[in-house]
C-alpha cells in the first residue's frame, strides 16, 4: 500500500533521515519506534508532504507521492494526526472535526463520521460547542484522532499519540487504535512508548539516528534483547 524507498531528509546540513526503506500493507498496523531524534516524526512529515525529501521515493498504490502537495496526499486517503495534537484551539470542537473532512469530495453529509467519532470518544459530543483550546490534554488527543477520522482515512498516520498523557488516557487511546485497526483502517504509528506500540502492532521498525536498526514482527521485536534493553527499559 505504502512503500518508502531509500528516503533521505535533510534539515540544512543535518541528515535527519539517512536512507530508510519500509512498507505498510493493507489493513496492517505498523509501528515506527525509536528514541527522540531518531527521525520518526520527520518520516511522517515527509510522507504527508510537509517536509520534502532530499532523496528516495514514497509510493502509495500506483501513485508517486514524493513531490505531491499535502492537500492532494490527504485527498488520496493518507491522513495524519500530528505530534503534539495541533488542534485548532480557537475553533470549536465541531469546527475542528468538520475541518478534518476538508479534502473529501462527499462532505455534504458528515453525520455518519460525526457519529463514528462520538461512539469512539463520547466526551467530544459533550464538548461539541466548546473551544478546542479549553479541552484537557487527553481530550485534545481524542479530538486530534477524531479529526483525522473525519477524513475517512485509508492510511492513518499517528505521531506520538501517547505523548504527555496520563497512563489511563494512554490506555484509552491505544484501545481506540486497536479498534480502528480491527475496523479495517491501515495505520502507521510513531511512538516513543515502544512497549505499548509493540503490544498492538503487527510489525515494527526500530529507528536509530535516521536509519532502520531492526525490523520485523512486533511480538518478536518485543522479545528481542536489544530492543528490550534500549527501548523497553529491561535489564539485559
Amino acid at each position: 500500500m505504502l512503500v518508502v524507498e531509500n528516503l533521505r531528509v535533510n534539515y540544512g546540513a543535518i541528515q535527519a533521515v539517512k536512507g530508510i526503506s519500509f512498507e505498510v500493507r493493507e489493513r496492517e498496523l505498523v509501528a515506527l519506534i525509536g528514541s527522540n531524534g531518531a527521525g520518526k516524526s520527520t518520516t511522517l512529515k515527509t510522507i504527508s508532504g510537509i517536509v520534502r525529501p532530499s532523496g528516495g521515493s514514497i509510493r502509495y498504490g500506483d501513485k508517486d507521492l514524493t513531490s505531491e502537495p499535502t492537500h492532494r496526499i490527504v485527498a488520496s486517503g493518507i491522513v495524519q494526526a500530528p505530534e503534539g495534537r495541533q488542534i485548532f484551539g480557537s475553533l470549536t470542537v465541531r469546527e475542528n472535526l468538520a475541518l478534518g473532512a476538508t479534502a473529501r469530495a462527499d462532505r455534504s453529509d458528515l453525520d455518519p463520521e460525526f457519529a463514528q467519532v462520538f461512539a469512539l470518544f463520547p466526551i467530544l459530543s459533550e464538548r461539541i460547542s466548546q473551544r478546542a483550546g479549553t479541552l484537557s490534554g487527553g481530550e485534545q488527543q481524542m479530538l486530534a484522532i477524531g479529526r483525522a477520522l473525519m477524513a475517512k482515512p485509508r492510511l492513518l498516520l499517528l505521531d506520538e499519540p501517547s505523548l504527555g498523557l496520563a497512563p489511563i488516557v494512554v490506555n484509552r487511546i491505544f484501545s481506540v487504535i486497536s479498534q480502528l485497526k480491527e475496523s479495517g483502517v491501515t495505520i502507521l504509528l510513531v511512538e516513543q512508548n515502544a512497549r505499548k506500540a509493540l503490544a498492538i502492532a503487527d510489525r515494527a521498525y526500530v529507528l536509530e539516528t535516521g536509519t532502520i536498526r531492526l525490523s520485523g514482527d512486533a511480538r518478536d521485536l518485543a522479545r528481542n534483547p536489544e530492543v528490550e534493553h534500549a527501548y523497553l527499559g529491561g535489564v539485559a
Binding site: 504527508s48 508532504g49 510537509i50 502537495p69 499535502t70 492537500h71 490527504v74 485527498a75 491522513v79 495524519q80 500530528p82 495541533q86 488542534i87 485548532f88 484551539g89 480557537s90 475553533l91 469546527e95 468538520a98 475541518l99 478534518g100 476538508t102 479534502a103 473529501r104 462532505r107 479529526r147 477524513a151
Partner: protein, 297 residues
C-alpha cells in the same frame, strides 16, 4: 459639547472608523495567514479609487462603476500575490516584508506615470453630497453610505469566517498553517482568498475615501493605510475583530480630539494618534484583542 454636536461628531467618527476598519481588515487577514505586513495595501486602496475613476468614464450608473472598480482592484490584489508574494513563500519574513515595500513603490510609481501626479476630481455622484436630517443631526449621504457599506461588509465577512467551510479553513490556517495543510486544506486557495477579501475591502475603502476627500492621487493610499496599520496594532495584529475595534477607536479618537481640543491644538491630531500607538506598544504590545501565545518554533 451639546447633544447635537456630539451626535454630529459621532456620525463623523463612525464614518472615519468604517474606512479605517475596511483597510485594517485586509492588513489583518493577510498578516494572519502569511505573517506579511503588506505595505502595498495602501496602493490597493489607491487602485480602487482610480479603477472607479476610469470606469466612470463609461457613463454607467455609479453603483455598477463601483462594482467594476472593486472587481478590478481584486484582480490587481490577486496579481500582486501571484507575481510578487508567491515566489517568496518560503523566504524569511523580512524578505516578504521588503517585497511588499517594493510592490508598494512599483505600483505607486506606475500609477504616477499613468495617472500623473496631479490630483483628479473623484466622480462622486452629486446625490452623495446631499445632507439628510436625522432629528437635530445633519448628516451627509457620503457618511451614511460609508457607515452602511462597512456594516454590510463586516456582516458578510463575519458570516463568511464563521459559517463557511473556506472561512473556517482560513481561521484554522491563521492559527496553525501546518496543521491546516494536514487537514487537506489547499493553502494556496486560502492565501488567494485572503487577498481577494483584503483587496475588495480596500477597493471599497478607496472609493469611500475618494468620495470623502473629493479628489484622488497616486499617493492617496499612504495616510489611510498608515492609520489602518495603527488600528491593527492597537487591536492586536492579525485579529480581525481587533482590527475593527482598533479602527473605530482610532476614528473616534481623531474626530473627538479635534472637536474637543482648542483650535490651535488640532494640528497635533496625528501626534496624538501615534502617541496612542506608542503607549499601546509599551503597555500591551500584543494589542487589545491579540493573543499572548508565544510563537511556535
Amino acid at each position: 459639547m451639546g447633544a447635537t454636536e456630539f451626535g454630529q461628531q459621532f456620525v463623523n467618527a463612525m464614518s472615519l472608523g468604517s474606512i479605517y476598519a475596511l483597510v485594517a481588515i485586509g492588513l489583518a487577514i493577510v498578516f494572519s495567514i502569511l505573517r506579511l505586513i503588506n505595505f502595498a495595501h495602501g496602493e490597493v486602496l489607491m487602485l480602487g479609487a482610480f479603477f472607479t475613476y476610469y470606469w466612470n468614464r463609461t457613463g454607467l450608473p455609479f453603483a455598477i462603476v463601483a462594482i467594476l472598480g472593486v472587481a478590478c482592484t481584486v484582480l490587481a490584489g490577486v496579481a500582486m500575490e501571484r507575481i510578487a508574494y508567491r515566489p517568496m513563500r518560503n523566504a524569511p519574513e523580512v524578505s516578504l516584508l521588503l517585497t511588499s515595500l517594493g510592490v508598494s513603490i512599483a505600483v505607486r510609481n506606475f500609477a504616477t506615470m499613468q495617472f500623473g501626479e496631479q490630483p483628479q476630481k473623484f466622480p462622486t455622484p452629486s446625490r452623495f453630497e446631499h445632507r439628510v436630517h436625522l432629528g437635530e443631526i445633519n448628516v451627509s449621504v457620503t457618511n451614511l453610505v460609508t457607515i452602511g457599506s462597512a456594516l454590510i461588509l463586516l456582516t458578510l465577512l463575519t458570516w463568511f469566517v464563521t459559517r463557511t467551510q473556506l472561512g473556517i479553513a482560513m481561521r484554522a490556517t491563521a492559527e496553525n498553517p501546518v496543521a491546516a495543510r494536514l487537514m487537506g486544506i489547499n493553502i494556496n486557495v486560502v492565501i488567494v482568498m485572503a487577498f481577494v477579501i483584503g483587496s475588495a475591502l480596500a477597493g471599497v475603502a478607496g472609493i469611500l475615501w475618494g468620495a470623502r476627500v473629493g479628489r484622488i492621487e497616486p499617493l492617496m493610499g499612504f495616510v489611510p493605510v498608515l492609520k489602518a496599520f495603527v488600528a491593527t496594532v492597537i487591536g492586536g495584529f492579525g485579529s480581525i475583530p481587533g482590527a475593527v475595534l482598533g479602527a473605530f477607536i482610532l476614528g473616534f479618537g481623531e474626530i473627538f480630539l479635534v472637536a474637543l481640543l482648542p483650535d490651535r491644538m488640532t494640528g497635533y491630531r496625528d501626534a496624538f494618534v501615534f502617541g496612542a500607538l506608542i503607549v499601546i506598544l509599551l503597555v500591551r504590545p500584543q494589542g487589545l484583542l491579540g493573543s499572548t501565545e508565544p510563537e511556535k518554533i
